[in-house]
Symmetry: C2
Subunit: 233 residues, 2 copies
DNA sequence: TAGGATTTGTGCGTATGTATT
DNA sequence: TAATACATACGCACAAATCCT
């Protein structure tokens, strides 16, 4: 008989996924704001590898629209202008509605519990608002919420588009005078409304509530960014 | 005064795009059927480069779902089972409808002319049906048709999902006893119907016609693949 | 069970492109 | 305009993983 040691997996695939997730989250949570140059050498050193496997990750992030490499110049975190962002938001709204239509998938106990604990965490955050923590919880909620559809391609696309817009939304909140505390409370309310719909198995309504909140968050952002002078200073 | 020679552009970016397009088309047109192992060494030799830049292209194709690399084993063209395919088709149908809703974009003269010449080419092909040429024209038509929306993210996603399913559809046509000639004629009719809608600026109807044809082609495929015994031999 | 053949993954030196002085 | 600094892109040798004999 041989032991089956719970070895830490560090195959090439695992190392790739780990670096990819870490860098993706740093970009989406504004640890690397748009325009930041990423040093291949520094990152390779941080992860304890050579530049070769790191560059694989950068190629992937570039194909996901989060980075852009320019020969001889550098690798930069992409920015998104307001018009392109509006197109993405309009599409995300339609896709959010589809989440409740294509293969509606009432949450299993595990997902249900995770959503409820997220609700609690967001309520807790509301007492001491923090933009980065808000971004983290927002990412987690979107990820879990996409589980309401059993349609995998739809899930992946919603995830992809969310990750493309998350940092711009966070950035606009930091740049304008949007009240983070107010946004956190609105977010907490969204989760509770969604949970209320899911509790009775009404996946379609949960999706519509979600769609409405995507729409409203973009509207608030546009008002704050385009007409900042209308906001009290 | 210096000459501005129309040099062939062969920057790193161009070389990448060229290799990517060539390999992508070979996969989607069944030059490399699902399951085929791609040799990094052979392909690098064919393109006259080392494995390094070629591997960049393979990473990209893997992120697009067309390839899968396994350490020590090889890089393989992915296959898609019928359930996953159905999910993708259902999503593609909904997105096709969105093409006519989000930023409807009546074709400019260039696009119009291109679609008309495609119609002619498909009619010509109907006389001497050929599966690969059919695949090529089909790819071109989808690519051009996506120009009816000004919503770029939607365009990219439709393109991406189409490229993921194209080869499976071609493969099922080759495997079963679907009449390629009949499919070509149906395709020609679809193009003409779409053109009829676009001629009067009715982008929404063009999108609905397109959606209907996506749906019907999947239905025909499912009937031929799942119940081949019902087909005359 | 072991070992060799083959394939992808990695490390590193060098080439090439860009911006600045 | 030329030279220098520094970034990404590339080529190659080797390591690691898998498969088959």
């Amino acid at each position: 008989m041989t032991f089956a040691p719970a070895e830490v997996p560090h195959s090439a695939r695992d190392r790739f996924d780990r670096m990819h997730t870490i860098l993706r989250d740093r970009i989406c949570l504004l640890d690397y704001p748009p325009g930041t140059r990423l040093s291949e050498e520094e990152l390779a050193a941080e992860f304890g590898t050579s530049r070769t496997p790191l560059r694989r990750v950068l190629v992937r992030l570039e194909s996901e629209g989060l980075l852009q490499s320019v020969h001889g110049v550098g690798t930069f975190v992409t920015d998104v202008d307001i018009e392109a962002l509006e197109q993405t938001y309009q599409l995300r709204m339609e896709l959010a509605e589809l989440l409740g239509i294509l293969g509606p998938n009432p949450p299993d106990p595990t997902l249900w519990q995770r959503l409820q604990s997220l609700s609690t965490e967001v309520r807790t955050l509301a007492e001491h608002p923090d933009a980065r923590r808000f971004g983290e919880l927002n990412m987690e909620f979107f990820h879990e919420f996409h589980g309401i559809t059993s349609n995998l391609p739809l899930r992946e696309i919603c995830e992809r588009l969310f990750l493309q817009t998350a940092r711009i939304w966070l950035k606009s909140m930091a740049a304008s005078r949007i009240d983070v505390g107010a946004e956190v409370r609105i977010f907490a309310d969204e989760i509770d409304e969604v949970l209320r719909a899911l509790a009775i198995g009404d996946v379609r309504s949960a999706a519509l509530i979600h769609r409405a909140h995507i729409s409203m968050s973009f509207t608030r952002m546009r008002l704050a960014v385009i007409e900042p002078r209308l906001q009290p200073q």
